[in-house]
Symmetry: C2
Subunit: 497 residues, 2 copies
């Protein structure tokens, strides 16, 4: 017990000890049943006479705050409610460095997605605002059994740090799963990360300095934009059309901006759902090579295709060391597992491994082993087939429901895979105006501004996750959204756009 004693204070040591415990008990920070240190131990810890401690404990007991059980020790009793005091909430004045941090706007912002997920007071809200698949399809019970088996089999090893680039059998499994998708990577070039979000972080940490330029699609993944802002990067956008990033516009930007990294989501792009065409893929790689820019390929749902022709991952077009590829198990399995990976060849690989070790030492070994044990190429493919069937139906259901319930002026281009549907509102409408009305009707979505480097560009757009809700909820949700849009359209025109 480390109690703060002030030997220069006017209060006696006895009083200080008594006050410390009284304060802790009445504020709830020492909850009932907490055992106080023995008087002998505390006297030794604090370097005071044992009688001093005994006197303090005696007074606490007399006040009914603690009870001593013979042969067992002294325990905190539940204090009577009228005596309870609130824990002081320190509220400043904060030191200058904290006030500066706040004043300079150097604190990273709130999460747009979380904000969007707030569902107001509706009794039965329907959410289309998340970034994950349907948790109801995740095999929780199977996974519980696997964890149990792994802990039985591996014991302590499952709870130790493990290899710094990740559990070797899991890296081999990842290589096999990737091979089954046409991507050839050696296990020695795979690094297991805490979700693909950490993979993006590691790449920024290693390759970029504040002020460096990064190229992204506009719009792009909001979590990546948050990250690039956190790293104080200059974000330059390349617009997306129905075939992904408009690569034709790239060369001019490469010549003028000297970017240090190009971040792209070529498959079932977040948020628009589009896929980069194969000719553009080749063109993109050639340009990146010519202008010496690394590509970071985020393939978060690259294998969730429901129809149309497949396109090769950028990584599979890479002769080696040009493309840093990242993906994740979070979308396919359980998001809280926090297991993703990246793959790249060349000296940069070792640099990323060391960066990972330095920023958080290791990724939870237990989940790595459990995933390895649970996922085989066969089981992964089977899970993928089932998931694709379910999500395809939901996508089709949402397209029909949109046509049934939303005004004809709403534009939508149904994606061939992934999780997201990207809607453009009629010109007179903004999501800023729409969102509170939608929440009122009991439906949530992600407003488009989260996905644009310059957020006003996104006011006409919204993103719907079609994978997370069953068909009935999709139908009802679109009905509500339609109602909200009609209500919003009846409002006076919003001149902020």
């Amino acid at each position: 017990m480390r109690i703060l004693l002030d030997r220069q204070s006017d209060a006696s040591l006895y009083q200080q000890i008594y006050t410390h415990f009284r304060q802790g008990i009445l504020s709830g920070s020492l909850p009932p049943d907490t055992r106080l240190p023995s008087t002998r131990q505390l006297a030794r810890d604090l370097g005071v006479n044992r009688i001093t401690v005994e006197t303090a404990y005696g007074d606490l007991e007399a006040e009914g705050l603690v009870a001593s059980k013979i042969g067992s020790g002294t325990y905190v009793l539940p204090p009577s409610p009228q005596l309870l005091i609130p824990v002081d909430e320190p509220d400043g004045p904060w030191p200058l460095w904290q006030r500066d941090l706040q004043a300079q706007g150097d604190l990273p912002g709130k999460n747009h997605l979380e904000e969007a997920a707030k569902s107001g007071s509706h009794p039965n809200p329907i959410a289309f605002a998340g970034g994950i698949g349907d948790p109801r399809l995740f095999p929780v019970d199977d996974y519980r059994k696997v964890i149990q088996a792994v802990l039985r089999r591996d014991g302590m090893a499952a709870l130790e740090y493990g290899e710094r680039n990740g559990y070797a059998p899991l890296r081999a499994t990842i290589a096999h799963v990737l091979a089954s998708q046409g991507i050839t990577v050696r296990p020695e070039n795979i690094l297991v990360t805490a979700g693909s979000q950490q993979a993006l972080t590691l790449v920024c940490q290693l390759l970029l300095k504040p002020g460096d330029t990064i190229l992204v699609e506009t719009p792009t993944y909001a979590g990546a934009l948050d990250l690039f802002r956190l790293f104080h990067l200059k974000i330059v956008g390349i617009p997306v059309d129905g075939h992904g990033m408009q690569v034709e516009k790239l060369e001019k930007i490469l010549q003028h901006q000297h970017p240090k990294l190009l971040y792209t989501i070529p498959n079932f792009h977040n948020p628009t759902g589009t896929c980069l065409s194969t000719p553009r893929r080749r063109q993109l790689l050639a340009l990146a090579d010519r202008y010496n820019v690394p590509i970071l390929e985020d393939d978060f749902v690259g294998d969730l295709r429901y129809d149309g022709r497949t396109q090769p991952a950028l990584k599979s077009l890479d002769p080696g060391g040009r493309v840093i590829y990242t993906s994740t198990f979070s979308k396919m399995l359980m998001p809280g597992l926090r297991v993703g990976f990246l793959a790249v060849e060349g000296p940069v690989y070792e640099g990323l491994v060391n960066t990972k070790r330095i920023v958080d030492l290791a990724t939870s070994s237990l989940h790595q082993r459990a995933i390895e044990s649970y996922v085989t190429v066969g089981s992964y493919q089977a899970h993928l087939r089932r998931t694709c069937q379910v999500y395809r139906r939901r996508r089709d259901g949402m397209v029909l429901a949109i046509h049934r319930h939303l005004p004809g002026e709403v534009q939508v281009d149904p994606p061939q895979g992934g999780l997201f549907m990207w809607l453009r509102l009629p010109d007179s409408l903004s999501t800023q105006k729409l969102q509170p009305l939608a929440v009122e009707e009991g439906v949530t979505f992600t407003p488009g501004h989260s996905f644009f480097p310059y957020s006003p560009d996104g006011e006409a757009y919204l993103r719907l996750n079609f994978a997370m809700q069953p068909p009935e909820a999709i139908e009802e949700g679109m009905r509500r959204l339609g109602k909200a849009i009609r209500k919003a359209a009846a409002l006076p025109q919003d001149h902020s756009r």
Copy 2:
């Protein structure tokens, strides 16, 4: 299946499909029992005629590389060993940006600790080089049961993202455990992190820019130095004596260097094992306040005290928002859990929470729930008492063994707690000379240079972890170390020091 087809190629589509699978099978990237996509599916995926795919599959089957099972699909067979081809190891030429990265020395270095742990060819090496306690004291079986119970109780919720500042009941438990140690923090000011290493990373990420100055003790935790180097900080050291950081030397440095952060390990300092005296603690806080510098208090083993008077944590002297406090469950429980936390009041707290969300979204929810379920103030205190008893004996055993087996010129100042013993070698010796001889004798330690901003300063020192080995191994290990030191001393003098 995303196969790369080149419609401009001289090779026919049939040949390209055939070659893709043949290559994958013979290189092992498509392992035996992998099911190939159905011919119908693959034809659709690739936009080719089904006969094209059937012809390719037929040739693969004729070659004995796959077998089709009626009604089930086409599966990869184990290829005959003489046909196997190695997966191409891409070996460059790497793109220019990778070669630059390497040439400029911008890749973070190897882990000194890992290097030190290499044990050579000795049949039965004894390691004193780790940074954790004894895994044999960790309650693996109990923990397995808790995980099981949590998954049964919480189901899917245990595998989802959870609250962005950490599982609320766990934050309450942490607040109670801290209160039992005399540190008052509200659960609303605690952020759960992926180990305390991530806590350090988040603070750097939010508060520091490349080129900023950070003050540290010299020597200090090697993992923190790696981190500060990764963030391109200017590291300024303040020497440590038997009572911790020499705070008297601080004011001058504060006046001249304008540091943006002061990083300190006031309790059972890593690597020296010393504790900052209470007067110095007050002085340190007053100076940090006067010069407007945030303090990052790393209390990784603050409660592992075996004797001597306790000192208050810096955090408990903080009126609010001056000290960012971090600690971990990794040292007390299992290192692979990767659950640590930080605590601070004021606007900086929200900034750290958002930084955490941006860099990796969340910490594994399952482990947070399991720890919450396993750790109560009572069980924590009991575990702490047992651990302290065991480690105290090991410390005492190591001190005796050092006196018995090491030359009298080796200086050691036994710590009052923690995990580490810090040794100074006789003047004529360096750990560089000693280490290979020690490995030969079958004993490993951490060489001192890992702990100094300017590594040659550490050549006379080495760190021993006394907590991780049972008494017999400590005795034998010191015997071996003594032998290695005597061997090294007989070598010609090392003029590099």
